[in-house]
Symmetry: D2
């Protein structure tokens, strides 16, 4: 066993990260768990679902301020001078905690898709781009979106991207349609990192570029909100956007023309793994709710956990969660040890494994609640929709299974 | 093989039902498929989600009128002078067609929960009760709800019912809470058939009664709408209702005090099976959408049905649907041949089998659509929620598996 | 619904078949169940495992004689003057009974692979071929094998057949290897119906022929017995056979050169479905054993059927068996109504569905028996191996799913 | 996160164990892989299946001698002066290698059930017991068996043990039946560690004792060999043993009367986990065979890994194996950090998880081989039987799920 191989099995949190981990847990407990109920109850008092209630803003900004003061800010950036220098592994432990509370990530400026976007800007942005977009993002003043998926083409195949960008003098002229652009509904979202086909004559993986498009640029039309199992997640939203002769300066391209695919690879690693880390938190929460319900609800004279297969379902959920957690930690460690590119197969493995299994666990938690499980009286239905959505986000399960399968076959010389 | 056993395997539609079956298909094609799009688009133009748009009423009543004129009305009533005398088996074929279009059942006055409620009234109602409630229901003028499930008690165990009815002179005084009362949100719904505990000192299965409670009786408070995976299905609704000292005449009890459990058994047979019949239609529709998408969507240079496991998923869906259909038909036949009570195990078998398998098929259709599958651009997410809901309605899967399992064990002398 | 479609749902046994069905059940009960224990106990007293003990022969021939006397003989032949004119549907009911006792089929001259082979000979054999081989087969005097599968080529693709037959004057000269030739170990087996590549220059599906090869022809070498999960099923056996310059008369070809594929299609229909019919009997037996064990074995103070998920497993087994039975009956009916060729998709559906599900049920019966379940003290391990084997016999599940899937896609115009 | 919790996630092999790990791999490659084929081919040349061929003994003892010379001997003993002081974690890495070759464990004196038995003797044996039994076991001169399971009582409930031991003067008189006593068929096996009910009047978990019974004691009758899916694993064997008035000295009790249950708990920890460690090796081997076959076997013009769901099966197998490995490593670490007793839930989790998943993977490898997969031409069928057997050994899956489930529920205060 080589040294790097050996390191891949040390999945313990580092000594340095422990104080941060505990501080984050304390912050969530004291500053976020305490506002969640009031925050979401205010949704009903808003006139426009696509805005925030002033009191919501007040609550959230209050929590953010407390996080900033406690130094709990932007720590998601790995190996960076800007962040806390957290490894992916250490971040994985923290992200699992974030997954248990729907406002926790935001309160710490660690929300998707901003984390991935900030990481991209930090790595490949020019000084000017950083000044204009990264700085306010790091400050938690604006939000961002990542415009990749298109309605008319299988997003599982990145070379299918059809939104075009054509240079016209000093400007890119962009035309096309994107959908499921998460976060683009948020009034604070001001910038869209957009994948375009800029160079149709280049080789297959050099035809794409990433371009920074301010959301208020003329020609950027929000056609509507895509739903996820009946939910539109306003005001965050998963927006359907049309680019109609949108013009942005030539310098808005990231890292240079033709490097879009490269950036997408770089970005998807941490992005995918952050999702899966939070999924562990979601699964823990589902199991927690499942056990609480099953231990207290009585039917046929017994707590229902003593009826039929329920106890075995609890046991299998615990086992699968623990297995998923270890796999996520190892994929994070692989990114630390091998780099994002070499860790690609590890990341695909957890991306294919975790949301599918977590969906099953949440579904079983729903079943154990009876009809209440699918109602608004528990967070389970929303959690299910969220995890089900992850089975498409950043590539459907099928594509990630393909990556893992091919890698296995390659060891034997085929492919 | 005894003669009844043998009959249980003749699952062909009767000669007499064939013209009706074809007339219903023609009606749906000509009068319902043609209005669906406009009907649901109008949902956005309503000021109050819990009402109908005048044009919606016009469209639906038009379709109902055409059905009445064609004699396609109330045919769901088995062996009845009022209906067409359709057997459950024949109705099963028709119901599968109804499952493919969300307005079809209503256009033919064959909607849940009215069909089950009308059957109950027709079988055990007094002449006065029939005059007051059955007549307008049969005419399609009013709608009804069936108030069984309670939020604080496991509904899988009917003896858990806690809503109380106490005789005070010539009146029942009713107190308690019900939830997931489907259809009670509809402004046309005027009557609630309500399961209550009326006789706490009687033996276990004689403590319950069914009482007719007009929705506008003082003390009937609609507390809100329960959601099903984020959808409230307004204006139909799955309502949360409080009965606060609700008073109705003594004569509003159905079939006599203490017969509530008996009625619920009688009602649940056809009710459960009608759901499952429609589920077959839903599954066929999901498979149809799945195959269409998979045959036309291209990724990696091929229609996606040629990629990975997709073709096998199509095959397995076809096989499971055909198996479910045969099981539903046999359960319907069992009700015809053996009677609702003796057919109880057949009915539980399909109730436990069909919605679970149909959920899986719809979920796979969703996956094959990519993110679009969970969006409002296909009916799949709503269909999933609907079928998922059925895994609780009329008793969760677990209870039906228990019925089937015990019956099997009894053959060997245990239980 | 067209008339043939409608007929596909009448799955009741015919009036005419009922007396036969009951006579077969009585025969098994009186003449076969009574000898099984002694018969198999004698296996230990044989010097050569690949022979029969004289007492075994005596027992079996006795049962056969009783069947002959009762007129229960060769009734498997559908629509034939030689048999009882049983439809495939009627035969399906009987075959399910045969599946419950390992000697029942043989006692009635209804064993695989003879039934399929006899049907082929009866349909496409010349008078001389019938005289020489069909007659003694119908009389139960000899047995036969069907030599299709080859070790070095994927048998799922019939065009892969490499065993060659070359005409040399009036003789075919055959070279190649076959394996898993079931029944070829039986000392009574005298004839091998062998699939060969005779015409490599013809179009793809006209290159194969079926040739009758007497087992004692020089050059037919039995290399050994293939095992099925550690069992060789001596003396029946699944033999590995080498054909080394085997010479047979030109007239030994069946139905003419180049019709091998055609015959295989014709044969596989009933052959496949007979397996699945018997699988229903196997599943019923497994469920019976499962419930008996679970009702009587006590752990933690209760019969184990009351522990954990066991009762639900019983319920799910019952439901799946009933669904499989209906599907098998419908496929049999499809062969009756539509003909073997048109019924191909129905047959593939049950071939893909039934053995897989029956494997699962037997496996669960094993689990419910504890370690005894995998021992020689119950028939379950052998039954499992038998059903697992069926997932390869006559094409692996994957090929049958492909047939069903493509048929579905074709309805939408692709493929 | 407390320090012990943190340690539970450092699953890397220790520095000290690395040379041993590599030496073991080299030993297997050079001294064991090289003799396997000849060794097992000799099985056919033995007159008595329940003996060893002299050449088999020569080959195996040769490999053992080389292991001894290289200092690779008895290293399985954790934290012991006798062994190498390997932690359970380090041993887990080595055991996974042992799982890939059926002679590897024995060549290193690390076979089940001897390892567990030696550990018990080392921990709780008297000096005399150690001298008589542990010494020759450590020297690899004799072998041992562990007689726990009884045919007539659910072994999942240890309090069910019915084999009785009654003190008569200075002797225990033992009567009863045990079955599936693995290794008791081996002519080298001379000692049976036997669980008996010695003290029926004590409290429930103090009624059992462990008694050392030499195999050649009068009254020890080997009734026969239990089969595992048709295999008897001669000469190792899973024996059915009757104790008929067997008399052994009073001092043959281990650790004192009434401590049988305690010893069984102590023993089962490492025993269970060693099985699961080897299962990882078995799964890796199955995946290896699966991928090799799928990459080279051609059907329909392609390597079959490119057909249908096969590539996804490969991917899912890889993912599940990696997850199982991490879980096994963590359970081993838990035993190191928390002690066997506290680690009980971790051990039950992997015991319930690993064999079931590995069975599935082997079954899929079988399916991908076509009929060859279930034949004696691949080791897969035997591997399947072996893993299927593990789902009963040391308690069926159901009991381990119960342990895990209850632990989860206890966190919420129930049970």
């Amino acid at each position: 066993m080589s040294q790097p191989d050996k390191e891949l099995f040390n999945l313990a949190m580092s000594e340095q990260a422990q104080p941060l981990f505990h501080a984050v847990k304390k912050h969530i407990e004291e500053n976020v768990d305490t506002i969640v109920e009031e925050y979401f109850a205010l949704d009903k008092d808003k006139e426009d679902r696509w805005t925030f209630h002033p009191r919501q803003t007040e609550l959230l900004e209050g929590a953010k301020q407390k996080a900033r003061e406690a130094g709990l800010w932007n720590f998601f950036l790995p190996d960076s001078e800007l962040g806390d220098g957290l490894t992916n592994l250490d971040y994985a432990y923290i992200a699992a905690e974030l997954g248990k509370n729907p406002l926790a990530s935001q309160s710490l400026n660690c929300s998707a898709p901003d984390t991935g976007n900030m990481e991209v800007l930090e790595r490949v942005g020019t000084e000017a781009q950083k000044e204009q977009w990264l700085k306010p993002l790091l400050a938690g003043e604006i939000r961002s979106a990542y415009a990749m998926t298109e309605p008319d083409h299988a997003s599982s195949d990145a070379t299918n991207i059809q939104t075009s960008a054509v240079l016209d003098g000093d400007e890119w002229v962009i035309n096309g349609e994107k959908y499921y652009i998460s976060g683009a509904g948020d009034p604070r979202c001001t910038i869209l990192i957009t994948m375009v086909k800029s160079s149709p004559d280049a080789e297959t993986y050099r035809q794409q570029s990433m371009i920074l498009i301010p959301k208020d640029t003329p020609g950027v039309e929000i056609l509507g909100a895509m739903e996820v199992f009946g939910e539109d997640h306003a005001p965050h939203g998963h927006m359907h956007i049309k680019f109609d002769n949108v013009r942005v300066p030539k310098d808005n391209v990231l890292w240079g023309e033709g490097r879009g695919f490269e950036i997408s690879q770089l970005r998807l690693g941490p992005g995918r793994i952050h999702h899966c880390m939070r999924s562990i938190g979601q699964a823990e929460k589902a199991l927690d709710l499942m056990v609480k319900r099953a231990s207290t609800r009585v039917a046929f004279g017994k707590p229902i956990v003593k009826l039929g297969k329920n106890l075995e379902i609890v046991a299998r959920a615990r086992i699968e969660i623990d297995a998923c957690r270890l796999m996520v930690l190892q994929a994070a460690k692989a990114m630390d040890v091998l780099g994002n590119k070499e860790a690609r197969v590890y990341v695909s493995a957890v991306k294919a494994m975790v949301p599918e299994k977590v969906c099953t666990i949440i579904d079983q938690a729903i079943q154990m609640h009876g009809a209440t499980g699918m109602s608004q009286w528990t967070p389970l239905a929303a959690m299910y929709a969220n995890q089900r959505h992850l089975r498409f986000a950043d590539g459907p399960d099928e594509v990630h299974h393909m990556v893992v399968g091919r890698n296995e076959v390659r060891k034997h010389g085929l492919w």
